[in-house]
């Protein structure tokens, strides 16, 4: 099939009159005809739609009756649409709207940040500067976003670039600041007594050796020593002395206790955000009427997406869960687990970095409570700060 027929072609019949002369005139004037088939009293053929008027004029001159049989091609498929005013108006509105919307954030690229870092960076940008899909971007907003990311403390370097609706967030996660060596001018003492297992001296003089039993407040690292010739040498004391020691704690866990418990009643508030426009939607009533002091509120941010493309519409869903102080009855195993948990919390507070080598538990079951005592054997740095 000819390319012309794919775009705009006409099939026609020519009857009566001098049809041979019409063919000659068409050939002479450069009207390209194809698929010419003889018919009784004439012929049928095809030509480009924009040549048909000229052909019709030649046909009139030769007294030939020309009749269109079929219009072919994409142009004739689209022609009904081209006559619709609404589509033209839509196109006229669409183009300026498209150009204007290039200033809106349509997609956010976080580069190589992990999923958690992406979520936190998005939250910082949204809450601190309002930079989120659907926002009109300005240079000031980008600068404010960079400062907000740096201020969050999670990133040591941040750069926001915006082009054609795409916001690129580049950030380097902050690394832990290397410890700056600072020795003490006084002798370092033991926080607790124990068996020294390792001495890692950075400066000063080690006063204990591995395998040595030390007592609480015993000097561990000194600040001066004497040379063989009797010259005193001063050096600040710094280092780590690892020791194995025991630490006791105990906890009384009642078998019945008062605790805030979820009642199952909730109330959800919805806030719709379109760019900088916010509107509150009717809440979802889950049976909760008024706020009480023990309620818990959790806010979830839902960014609407279409095939991975973030739409400039977000919903903030704030759900309030009702909690009431009620009596909780523990089984013996449950009470024991609670007591263990409380003792571990105390341990984490007292010795946050300690490694538990062994533990010895004593459980005393009474009528309405459970007494739990534990002796941990720990391994940790015992140098006093």
């Amino acid at each position: 099939m000819e390319v012309v027929q794919l775009w705009a072609g006409v099939s026609f019949t020519a009857r009566n009159g001098n049809t041979e002369e019409l063919l000659n005139d068409a050939a002479r004037t450069g009207i390209y005809l194809s698929k010419i088939q003889p018919l009784p009293g004439g012929f049928s053929g095809r030509c480009a739609a924009w040549r048909y008027r000229r052909l019709a004029a030649l046909a009139r001159r030769n007294r030939v009756r020309l009749q269109v049989q079929r219009r072919r091609g994409l142009f004739f498929c689209l022609r009904p649409l081209l006559r619709r005013t609404g589509l033209w108006v839509g196109l006229a509105l669409f183009v300026p709207l498209l150009l204007w919307s290039r200033n809106l954030v349509w997609a956010v690229d976080y580069g190589e940040l992990t999923a958690g870092q992406q979520a936190r960076a998005a939250a910082v940008l949204r809450e601190e500067t309002g930079l989120e899909p659907g926002t009109v971007v300005s240079q000031d907003l980008l600068t404010a976003g960079e400062y907000a990311l740096l201020k969050s403390g999670e990133f040591s370097w941040a750069s926001l670039n915006f082009f054609g609706g795409r916001l690129e967030v580049e950030a380097a996660p902050a690394k832990q600041v290397p410890a700056i060596f600072s020795g003490k001018l006084q002798t370092l003492h033991a926080k607790t007594g124990g068996l020294v297992t390792e001495v890692n001296l950075k400066s000063g003089t080690a006063l204990v050796v591995p395998g040595q039993q030390v007592e609480k407040d015993q000097p561990l690292i000194g600040t001066s020593r004497t040379e063989r010739d009797g010259t005193p040498i001063f050096a600040p004391a710094a280092g780590v002395v690892m020791a194995q020691f025991t630490w006791d704690t105990a906890c009384d866990q009642p078998l019945a206790d008062q605790a805030p418990l979820l009642t199952g009643k909730t109330h959800t508030r919805l806030r719709l955000s379109i760019g900088r426009l916010h509107c509150t939607l009717p809440g979802l009533d889950g049976g909760l009427v008024g706020p009480t002091p023990n309620d818990v509120e959790i806010t979830r941010h839902l960014q609407l997406e279409l095939f991975g493309l973030p739409l400039p519409v977000a919903v903030d869903e704030t759900t309030r869960y009702q909690r009431r102080i009620r009596e909780v009855t523990y089984s013996e195993d449950g009470a024991l687990a609670m007591a263990r948990f409380k003792c571990l919390e105390q341990l984490a507070e007292a010795w946050p970095d300690a490694e538990i080598v062994a533990q010895q538990e004593t459980v005393d079951r009474q009528a309405h409570s459970l007494h739990y005592a534990v002796t941990y054997t720990l391994l940790d740095n015992i140098v006093q700060d």
């Binding site: 049809t19 063919l23 050939a27 390209y32 010419i36 088939q37 003889p38 053929g45």
Partner: protein, 60 residues
């Protein structure tokens, strides 16, 4: 069949195509003859051709 440098078509039906050339008349006889394309000086013909005639001189 492609024919070039003809002056005009004299007669055309599905069994006969008679062309006037600059030095005579050329006639193609056949069955179900169809003109695939017709341009200023070239005609492309398709069908079952039986015989062709060439007559020297142009008759009115």
């Amino acid at each position: 069949m492609e024919i070039e440098h003809f002056r005009r078509i004299r007669t055309y039906d599905q069994n006969k195509l008679c062309l006037e050339l600059y030095g005579g008349t050329f006639t193609v006889y056949g069955d179900q003859m169809q003109i695939l394309s017709l341009a200023a000086h070239r005609i492309t013909l398709q069908g079952r051709f039986v015989r062709t005639d060439f007559t020297d001189g142009v008759d009115a």
